[in-house]
Amino acid sequence: MTQPALDTSPPVSDEIRKTTCYMCACRCGINVHLKGGKLAYIEGNRDHPVNRGVLCAKGSAGIMQALAPSRLRAPLKRTGPRGSGEFEEISWEEALSLATDWLAPVRAKDPSKLAFFTGRDQSQSFTSMWAQGFGTPNYAAHGGFCSVNMAAAGIYTMGGAFWEFGQPDWDRTKLFMIFGVAEDHDSNPIKIGLGKLKARGAKVIGVNPVRSGYNAIADEWVGITPGTDGLFILSLVHCLIKAGKVDLEYLGRFTNAPVLVNEDPNSDEFGMFLRGEDGEPLVIDRATGKPAGVLAEGVQPDLAGQLRRAGVTHRTVFQQMAERYLSEDYAPEAVAARCGLTPARIRRIAAELARVAFDEAIVIDQPWTDFRGKRHEKMTGRPVSFHAMRGISAHSNGFQTARALHVLQILLGSVEVPGGFRFKPPYPKPSWAHPKPHCKSTPGQALDGPHLGFVQGPEDLALDDQGQPARIDKAFTWENPMSAHGLMHMVISNAHAGDPYKIDTLFMYMANMSWNSSMNTRGVHDMLTDQDENGDYVIPRIIYSDAYSSEMVAYADLVLPDTTYLERHDCISLLDRPICEADAVADAIRWPVIEPDRDVRGFQSVLVDLGARLGLPGFVNDDGSAKYRDYADYITNHIRRPGVGPLAGWRGKDEQGAGRGEPNPDQLDRYIENGGFWMEHVPEEAAFYKPWNTAYQDWAVEKGFFDKPAPYLFQLYVEPMRKFQRAAEGLGERQPPDHLRDRLKQTMDPLPIWYPPEAMGTGNFSPSQSDEDAEYPIHALSQRPMAMYHSWGSQNAWLRQIHGRNPLYVPTDIWVANGFAEGDWAQVSSPHGAITVPVAHMAALNPHTVWTWNAIGKRKGAWALDNDAPEATKGFLLNHIIHELLPPKGDGLRWANSDPVTGQAAWFDLRVRIEKVPAPAEAQPVLPPIASPVGRGPDVVRQKVRQD
């Protein structure tokens, strides 16, 4: 029998255009293959620093996003009632005139009446500049409901956290611990890294209530009870300190462990650092036995230093830590049950960390010089590393838990050393090198400075002259002093309540706030549609920009349709959230690899246009004419500081500028020629010890990350937190309201603590209280599937076949106790309400926890799906039973369902009870369908570019 003739070498495509993916937040490089100008195939870019050629399911399905029937087609003006989804298509001129007519009077009279929140924005250095020019203090992106606890705790502790700030040393680490993760936060790099560890046979420990994804391949799975990670980590700290398994040399040289702290409770300076006349914290110099500035040249700081001055005893941060964590309160026997673990398991992990860190240390023959002028012949590494993201941070104890994890890494001496955790330039950058928040709004003027930043004490809070919150989201107030990313999740409820004030226009971008990105989803619908006694909407105007027909679109008065990611310019900038690797500084662009076939515009170009129409500073020339043609023009020509612009590569007339240089009109072309990104390697001498390494500091100045060398120490003890405690104790001019004093004293501890997540409901922060809740005994979580990014994936014909349903996964004991069988349904109740959902059994799950996939459930009418799509009939959100406020406490007050330090949404504090119920026709609650502004998708998808 003869085989058919087969062409095994067909042409692949006519052209490859290289740009940056946006199917999630990971920002991989992609090769987009075109045939006859049409999208044919997407694969990873092998040269790209983020993904090195590989690509996840979302990235490969980008073609279905670019062709999705849910894409908005033209600007929309609301014709029906809010929430109906009834719109008429209008021209861009009409849309932009309308927006200008609404916004110009707001700016002239009171810019703070505009709340501008930009969701999953990757252009925050640009959108914040627009908001600053407008003059409103009310700007942030989505970090407040994502992972600000991890980011802020990292910045305050050591100058950066995970993901965009740094990564494990995948090539050298020997023991890797990963705590609860949202998969898109460094998606492909973590998978690449895990693959490297597996190939080398290095050990992986997964800490997560759910054993899926990365935890499935972990050598050791720690199925911890949600919200107790901090207690577990502090127990590891207890074991390590007790055994002396901490890196004393590292702690003495590179952290504030040797800094002297006032220990006299009767002193006004209690808990503050002892400082020299120049304000520098003091240590005892082991060489002289005398106090000296901690950063001074040649000083050998003493971890065991003590100093009595003016009758006040000062001891080191390290001595305070030893005393606190040696307490038997943190012994494995004391905490294991609460964590859902055994004492033996905690000890085993602590012992393994100690063994690998100290017995398997790695040494690299690379001399370097530290900031005190001491030359080191070698680089010594502690090859244990960690990664964590939203799983541990989306709790009301998430900031302190993330702090505990960063402190654990530092105690082991494993940060910025070979085999440990490594920062990615331009990080690390300590909290005081970041801006402070600004909130002074003046009619017709720009804001007095950047909105977001890192407070160093009560004096930096965003309060008005009466001490009231200056921002609509109450960021940087006594309720959440260190809310570095703002609180987008509180904007709608605060605006509706007129607390702290009413607004005129809510302007949002790329965040599905009427669905999966809000707590209390149905309540949010009521707030968005509520009318006053005159029949006017309580939130008078809503402008929304999105590329797709999301649930939020229906609640806008004016919709500005964005392009897909393949049709636009973007810059992934060093001014913002760059794509760097530990060994390289890098930035990247998106560019229109295909042209839109609809009347849509990139949102950033729309802001450029609106900025010019409104005459915003930075968007107009002196003569009032538009400064930039579009976003691409801004990317090329904007200058942030002398020589520093949005993109670092090919700057200057000679195109040789790397980091610094004048604008180059051909810069975007150079990026395109180079595959959509620019990268420069960190010199080998500068590869580790970045905060203290003179070679790195000099290189960073050359690249424009900062303007002069700025070495600093890791902050085991965060003194600014102590300043808030002092205010709560009655010291200082700015004083908190009385009802928050006790909470501030408890939660703003300058050394890591753990308190139960329930503390925010009960006001009882004691770690030893029972977690038994007879009424709501079960923890409930959601997690994002690897093949989906928030609500986007379900509109994708390929991805929705992978994750089209989201049962509630129930552990064995609860499954059996309820007599569940396959196909059953359960009512899931919280203090806030109930939902009825399909259940499925899962054994590899913490026995007190149920969970489901995030954002699979859809509202009928959204995303161009049929009304009988399983996402709309069987899919569900936990959001319905999570409220943005906790139930009233004994004093009648309701605290926000947020972390008290940063305001991060405490999604994973949810407690529920479940009971078997007869199967309803659809998951409950069923909401009325919304009209689709884009119709419905076709029955058949047969994607193939035919070439004639």
Binding site: P10, G53, S212, G213, K242, A797, R936
Partner: protein
């Protein structure tokens, strides 16, 4: 009925899939869909693509299983599955038209779509469920091992591998000649104890799976009080009381 090649090919191109490393991310599933909808044969169609019962043809899918061992917690295994390009491929011999065939030169099992009548016998015959009827074209679809990539001179050499292998973020998929004992994939199989899927079916699959390494090894050790704890010295307290700790600290600092 259709014949297999009279002699098995010396070259046996296939995949080695590492179950120790696969995180179940579905990257391979979608990269495969993307490449193969644009290339070999009819596009991989999706019916009711935005509706109640979306049904599309995929050449590779991930299945997830739970395993509950006698000791230790339950485990999750992600199991990618596609055609295993069997030596004794029952899907070929059952084909009434000769559309299904096994290539003599490299052992790849293919469907010649122009001869396929969509009878579905091959899908019934395959013990692995690795073949899917395209819901629109009504021809049988299966993994081609990206026969239009692996010999494709229009691709750089490094990219002449199946789309699933090129994209796998964790590096859990390997491609090569399993007929050559000296190939990297054969060595990997030997080293890691690679196994045939369902050997009792007698299909002699070319593709190999690498087993998950033992998980949760510490659990048994932690539960066993009779064992000597070799790690105990690493947590031996330097002192029993905080005061003693500071004494130790002083001495330790002296040694630095």
């Amino acid at each position: 009925m259709t014949s297999l090649p009279s002699q098995p090919s010396l070259k046996k191109m296939g995949l080695v899939i590492d179950l120790d490393t696969c995180v179940g991310c579905h990257a391979c599933v979608v990269a495969c869909k993307g490449w193969n909808t644009e290339n070999y044969g009819a596009p991989l169609a999706d019916k009711d693509a935005y509706g109640a019962e979306p049904v599309g043809s995929f050449l590779n899918r991930i299945h997830s299983y739970e395993v509950t061992p006698e000791v230790g917690p339950a485990q999750t295994v992600h199991f990618p599955k596609s055609c295993l390009h069997c030596e004794d491929a029952p899907c070929v011999t059952v084909c009434p038209t000769g559309a299904s065939y096994k290539r003599v030169e490299d052992g790849i099992v293919l469907v010649n779509e122009s001869d396929c009548i969509g009878c579905g016998l091959c899908a019934w015959a395959c013990p692995y469920g690795a073949r899917e009827m395209d819901p629109v074209e009504k021809v049988m679809k299966k993994c081609t091992l990206c026969v239009d990539r692996i010999y494709n001179d229009n691709l750089p050499e490094v990219d002449q591998v199946p789309a699933c292998v090129r994209t796998c973020p964790a590096g859990a998929r390997h491609f090569g000649d399993l007929g050559d004992a000296e190939s990297d994939v054969s060595k990997l199989v030997a080293e890691r104890g690679g196994f045939d899927l369902m050997p009792e079916q007698g299909t002699k699959p070319v593709n190999q799976y690498l087993p998950p390494r033992p998980r949760d090894a510490w659990v048994a050790e932690e539960d066993d009080d009779t064992q000597i704890d070799v790690l105990a010295p690493f947590l031996a307290p330097v002192a029993e009381e905080p005061k003693g700790f500071f004494g130790w600290l002083d001495k330790a600092l002296e040694r630095l």
